[in-house]
């Protein structure tokens, strides 16, 4: 009862939904019909992007209302959310994770490091950007990207 009362009193804290983001929907995402199960892979990130992803799925930005949901295994996922430059230790696990995602699959590279290795480009432990390891469908720039940008990218995947 207490919980129900709290829910009624507090109401919605999420920001009102911004207008639908620009940009075209990746072709493989069209088959998802508005519901995307997301597996997040940290391929060598500094955890800045992770905090923003946490914000994107938190109560304020609430990415779940657009049909994106974090899951615990690539076997359950449609979308891979990859952060960080791909380190040498994570290159093979990232490939295996990509193989483990059932078709159709979408890869979203989050952050500058994931796009082009950012300020870690050329470091001895870095194998390359995400696109060098697995095919990337969408990129979210920023170091780190704002939660709103991540939500916008996920909305382009779900189409909602």
């Amino acid at each position: 009862m207490d919980l129900l009362r709290k829910i009624r009193e507090i109401g919605r804290v999420a920001e009102p939904a911004p207008p639908h983001p620009e940009g075209e929907v990746p072709p493989s995402a069209r088959e998802l019909h508005g519901s995307a199960q997301v597996r997040h892979v940290d391929a060598g990130s500094c955890n800045g992007c992770e905090i923003e992803i946490g914000g994107a799925f938190g109560p304020v930005y609430d990415a779940e209302r657009y049909g994106a949901r974090l899951v615990a295994s690539p076997r359950h996922a449609d979308v891979l959310l990859v952060t960080g430059p791909v380190t040498r230790n994570m290159a093979e696990p990232l490939r295996r994770t990509h193989r483990a995602v059932p078709e159709p699959k979408v890869v979203v590279a989050v952050g500058d490091c994931a796009m082009n290795c950012g300020l870690l480009a050329g470091a001895y432990g870095v194998a390359g950007a995400v696109a060098d390891i697995v095919p990337v469908d969408l990129e979210v720039p920023g170091c780190p990207p704002e939660p709103a940008a991540i939500v916008a990218a996920l909305r382009r995947v779900t189409g909602r």
Binding site: S73, R75, L94
Partner: protein, 684 residues
């Protein structure tokens, strides 16, 4: 036409021929010749026992064969049942042994003793006088000892097992000797008819002493806790066909001796006999199966499971004694029939399991379950055979062990109304013990089958395994067929079991009907029907099995029909991105048993030893961690080791008496003589 005498004569002749063949034939032919002769001994025993179960009786007296006492032999339905079971197991083990001995124990001595051991197994139930019975019993013990130590040159553990077995079996013999000789001395004759006639005239103290000593003596052969210390050593170290003979045939004879002595010769007894037997049986059943559930040695697991099953038989015998003392003959007969049926079932599945385990040991060279696995594609027939045996051992339908345990539970539950406070406490405890042991048996055999045969090989030896030669498979296949037959149509044994219970002297048993039974024995018919005075129940194992098969087939068809999705594709197992899982990540026997071991922590008292070695420069940097974990047999630890230490100390103290002086030794002799003479003068 009495078929028993020619069958037993044939068994004796074939045993002699087999022993001779083992001694003189060339090594290449030896296993086959000995195996065929031994199988003949078994077949003859089966024929003799079958004839006795069919209602024939036979007795013979050969006064000139042995000096002083002569030889008295007799076969009634009770001894016939055990002769038949021994015979069946011998046929299986002999056929199996032909292939097994080719690369194993093919030496002259071992091959010559095997037919002799088989012959004693057939003949022990036929002994009808104290001297004859004990002579055959000792022959059986000695020949089995020689077979246990067959591989003593290969492993030091075999020698240790041999010493344990020799000492324990002879302590049992001493108990038996005292019990039966005391009985015979008080009865004034040593043939079984004389004992039977005189049993009512004995004082209760003598009868009680005879019963307790017989329980100890026969119990040590039937793996009764706490006299079981030899079995986790002797069964695993013996060659596998010998393990099968010992576990599935020799251990039963302990139960036979107890039934013969307690029911037939002593004619039943007071209530505490039954309570004692039920209590020991319950402890044996639970302790045996708990040890089996945590064992990681495949043959050790089977050995402890033998202990469990003989414990269940002992519960049945004790319950029969208890109900008989209370005057409820029909219930007593039911309990005894359940015990006898369990003897038959246990013999069938344990011969099969030891056979399959022997194939595994021969193919991989190891008995350690933690190093096995992946045998299903490599040894498909052996795996199927082991699965049939395991199904029999776990006391669930449609296995054969289920039927006898069901009967046993029925007899105990219907006997709950028996009077007496101790009875009212003991029977529910016994029921709980049977239920607990059935559940743990399922865990133990799921472990043995799942860890031992399925998944991936855990060692190179298991990966190189190959299927056994056809004779071994044929031997194990015979007992698998017996298991299936016993599971589906146990009713065919009903008349024979009823006759055996009647031969044990229970008035409510037997196909001719009796005081408590309404128109027939306690069980009968093609399906199992319980017939007691106030109730009747029935169980149709064939229909249960048919229903199970039909249900499984229906579910499979339904799944096949409903699951018409997109085409299936293969994919590597997801291991969190860490590559393919290796055999090191598999469940092992130890890890499977760990939760059980935690539950029974107080009973098992496992020992753990963590040894951390730091590097020389710093105590915080670890160079090596050694972790050791073992589950010792607690009874052996707590009961036998202190006793052995005490004996060793007494021996060292006694050494002072023998200092090498001839004069002192002469003095000892003289003093003893004088003391004996004085004692004679005083007592006369």
């Amino acid at each position: 036409m009495n078929a028993i005498a020619p069958a037993l004569a044939a068994a004796s002749g074939l045993a002699a021929a087999g022993s001779a063949a083992g001694l003189v034939s060339p090594e290449r032919l030896r296993p086959a010749l000995v195996g065929v002769c031994t199988a003949g001994v078994g077949a003859a025993g089966l024929a003799a026992g079958g004839a006795a179960l069919g209602g024939q009786r036979w007795s013979a007296s050969l006064p000139d064969l042995l000096p002083l006492a002569g030889v008295h032999l007799a076969l009634d339905a009770l001894s016939g049942l055990f002769t038949a079971v021994s015979g069946g197991v011998i046929v299986v083990a002999a056929v199996y042994g032909i292939g097994y001995s080719r690369q194993g124990p093919a030496g002259r001595g071992v091959q010559a003793v095997l037919p002799l051991f088989a012959w004693t197994l057939v003949m022990v139930p036929a002994g009808a006088a104290v001297s004859t019975f004990l002579l055959l019993w000792e022959l059986m013990a000695a020949s089995s000892l020689l077979l246990v130590v067959a591989e003593h040159r290969k492993r030091a553990a075999v020698r240790e097992a041999g010493v344990w077995y020799a000492v324990m079996t002879h302590l049992g013999l001493v108990c038996l000797l005292i019990a039966l000789v005391l009985f015979a001395a008080r009865a004034g004759g040593e043939t079984f008819p004389a004992l039977r006639a005189a049993s009512d005239t004995l004082s209760p103290a003598v009868r009680g002493t005879v019963f307790v000593l017989a329980l100890a003596g026969f119990g040590s052969k039937a793996d009764m806790v706490p006299l079981h210390a030899w079995l986790p050593r002797a069964y695993p170290e013996a060659p596998s066909h010998v393990s099968a003979l010992m576990s599935a045939a020799m251990a039963n004879l302990g139960a036979y001796g107890l039934i013969r002595t307690a029911f037939d010769l002593l004619g039943g007894g007071p209530r505490w006999w039954g309570l004692l037997a039920v209590a020991l049986g319950a402890v044996t059943a639970v302790y045996g199966i708990v040890q089996a559930a945590v064992a990681t040695d495949l043959k050790c697991l089977l050995a402890y499971s033998t202990s469990e099953n003989l414990g269940l038989v002992l519960i049945g015998i004790g319950a029969a004694l208890l109900f008989d003392a209370g005057g409820n003959c029909a219930l007593a007969a039911l309990a005894l029939v359940a015990a006898l049926l369990h003897v038959v079932n246990h013999a069938a599945f344990k011969a099969l399991l030891f056979g399959a385990a022997g194939s595994v040991v021969r193919a991989t060279g190891t008995r350690d379950l933690d190093a096995l696995g992946g045998l299903r594609p490599r040894m498909p027939v052996t795996t199927a055979l082991f699965a049939v045996g395991a199904l029999g051992a776990i006391a669930l339908p449609p296995g054969n062990g289920f039927i006898s345990e069901w009967l046993l539970l029925q007899s105990l539950i219907h006997g709950l109304a028996a009077p007496g406070v101790a009875t009212a406490v003991m029977l529910p405890v016994a029921i709980a013990a049977i239920a607990l042991s059935a559940g743990l048996a399922a865990a133990a055999f799921v472990k043995a089958l799942g860890v031992g045969f399925f998944a991936r090989p855990r060692s190179a030896a298991a990966a190189r395994a190959h299927e056994s030669p056809p004779t071994m498979l044929a031997g194990a296949g015979l007992s698998a067929a017996a298991c299936v037959a016993l599971a589906l149509v146990p009713g065919v044994l009903a008349d024979g079991l009823g006759r055996a219970a009647a031969a044990a002297g229970l008035r409510g048993a037997g196909p001719t009907g009796g005081a408590g039974a309404a128109g027939g024995g306690p069980i009968g018919g093609g399906e199992l029907r319980l017939r007691l005075t106030e109730l009747s129940g029935r169980l149709a194992p064939l229909w249960i099995a048919a229903a199970l098969v039909a249900a499984v087939a229906a579910v499979l068809l339904l799944v096949r029909a409903l699951a018409r999705g997109p085409r299936r594709t293969g994919a590597p197992l997801w291991a969190c991105g860490a590559g393919a899982p290796t055999a090191r990540m598999e469940y092992t026997a130890t890890s499977f048993a760990e939760p059980l071991q935690r539950v029974f922590d107080d009973v098992l008292a496992p020992e753990q030893d963590v040894d951390v070695t730091p590097v020389r420069e710093s105590a915080y940097l670890v160079e090596r961690v050694r972790y050791q974990h073992r589950v010792p047999d607690r009874i052996e630890h707590r009961l036998y080791q202190p006793l052995l230490r005490l004996l060793a100390r007494a021996g060292r103290a006694g050494r002072r008496l023998a200092d090498g002086s001839v004069h002192r030794y002469l003095g000892y002799g003289f003093t003893t003589l004088v003391a004996v003479l004085l004692a004679l003068v005083v007592t006369r």
